[in-house]
Point group: C2
Chain length 292, copies 2
């Protein structure tokens, strides 16, 4: 089964390397051609000049781009060129409605579609340890599974088209809420003059324990915000979540607060920092101005 | 070193049993005398009729009561009776200001004080696996440690008097925020029609992973709210946190939201349920009314 890959950002590059390492990669495309040529040389596969040319050659096309419009642009560019019976797997984080639109466009050409967003970040993409949340038919997933397993340590089939994106949205909403919770609690701890390392250690061991406190707690109180997960990207994802919530008639007030907080930080030029930079808005005032 | 215990609620009973099991318990007092007599018979130690009578006989007095006023009532009752050089350890969750008041009252009688709130719940108290956050002098802690170790798997010295309570407050604020985050995200997931067991499993493995989602995620979506940690007690703790935040000049907006939410639930008669009953306010409307 010939496999092509479109979208060689931080995530896509790691993913493509792992597919190639398993001997399953047959071609690459990237909007910025230089990146595709460099990686193609390294992995000894062709770099295509246009996505449709790649699509015509493949049985399965994997996509990893940034935003909903980017994905639909790629889908429109490749739909006609794809062979009937081939499979498109989108690993970008987009709306469940966009996933449905993509699936419908491809179905017209008898091409199957999976929405398959991942979590685990650039590190997970590099190490092949991503967690993948898949929407679409179980049969299609089984066909694609040998390729997907080269990138993932866990693949969960969540339901029909869009269910993968809906699950990713749950993850992003929860990350937002936990970010608000951890930054608020640690700012309180600093305001109480507590030894932060000890606080994080003792609190981590109990009912308030969480991944984010463990991995980002101490660095945020030290003013270190190296990504990690870029704040501007989480903001983009949460805007998608807000639209999905609106259409489902459910409110997500904590995610709404996080969107507003991220907008403040982006306006101050912190969009490329890790999401833990939310601590900038929470830390005690005396610390913020360097006094005390 | 003769050890007495005051306050035999759900937590205190488990704690006293573990001290007795180590052969270190010399007496009990409880406001409701019947409870003290029953446990005293089981553990083969005397039950005292008044806290001052117990205090006069002991080298170390451990206290585990509900609220700030209860603690100060006990302290006032025992202060004069205690021998100079004896130690009082309070394991209740109260304000850091109350801890300082208690320490000052006892210092007049040359009695040392530790504020030593715990986390780990009734189960941790029963199993002797509590995490303890201690404020007060390191020297006093070392004297008390053999007794405290019979109840705890972890003892962290956080700083001077009040630092134990301040750390417990951090823990309670974080629990509140995480409760808001998890209930919001799972309500969104239900509104999207996702399979909840799979969602919780896949999300738990990533950057949004946390203890509360792991242990309370599935039960809350099934409408099971057996404590756990009683909502009315968390509400009481958060009121203390609000006062500590106000005095430190820092805002804790997420904890404020949780206090308001808990008040709604308590007004509806849910105060004795687990804190995960917050999900009652978040779950999608169709589910709430049993329709769909």
């Amino acid at each position: 089964m010939k496999t092509g890959f479109i979208g060689l950002g931080g995530m896509g590059t790691g993913m493509a390397r792992n597919i190639a390492q398993a001997g399953l990669l047959s071609g690459l495309y990237n909007r910025t051609a230089a990146k595709a040529h460099s990686l193609a040389g390294e992995l000894n596969v062709p770099a295509y000049e246009r996505p449709a040319l790649l699509a015509a050659d493949m049985d399965i096309v994997l996509i990893c781009v940034s935003a909903d419009d980017d994905l639909l642009g790629v889908i429109n560019a490749i739909a006609k060129a794809l062979k009937p019976g081939s499979i498109v797997v989108d690993m970008s984080t987009v709306s469940r409605f966009t996933a449905k639109t993509a699936a419908a466009l491809l179905a017209e050409h008898r091409v199957d579609f999976l929405d398959a967003p991942v979590s685990g970040g650039v590190e997970g993409a590099r190490n092949g340890t991503l967690a993948m949340m898949v929407g679409g038919s179980a049969e299609t997933l089984e066909k694609a599974r040998p390729v997907l397993e080269t990138m993932c340590s866990r693949i969960a089939h969540m339901g029909e088209t869009g269910a993968g994106q809906a699950t990713k949205a749950v993850n992003q909403i929860l990350c937002a809420g936990i970010n608000e919770a951890v930054t608020e609690a640690l700012a309180f701890a600093e305001a109480q003059g507590l030894p932060m390392e000890k606080v994080i250690e003792v609190v981590s061991g109990g009912a308030a324990g969480n991944w984010f406190l463990d991995r980002r707690g101490l660095t945020m109180t030290r003013g270190v915000f190296a990504p990690g997960f870029k704040l501007a990207l989480h903001h983009k994802d949460l805007k998608i979540c807000q639209e999905m919530a609106r259409q489902a008639g459910i409110s997500i007030p904590l995610a709404d607060v996080t969107v507003a907080d991220y907008q403040k930080l982006m306006a101050q030029g912190y969009g490329d920092e890790d999401i833990s930079a939310l601590y900038r808005l929470k830390k005690p005032a005396a610390k913020a101005s360097g006094e005390n």
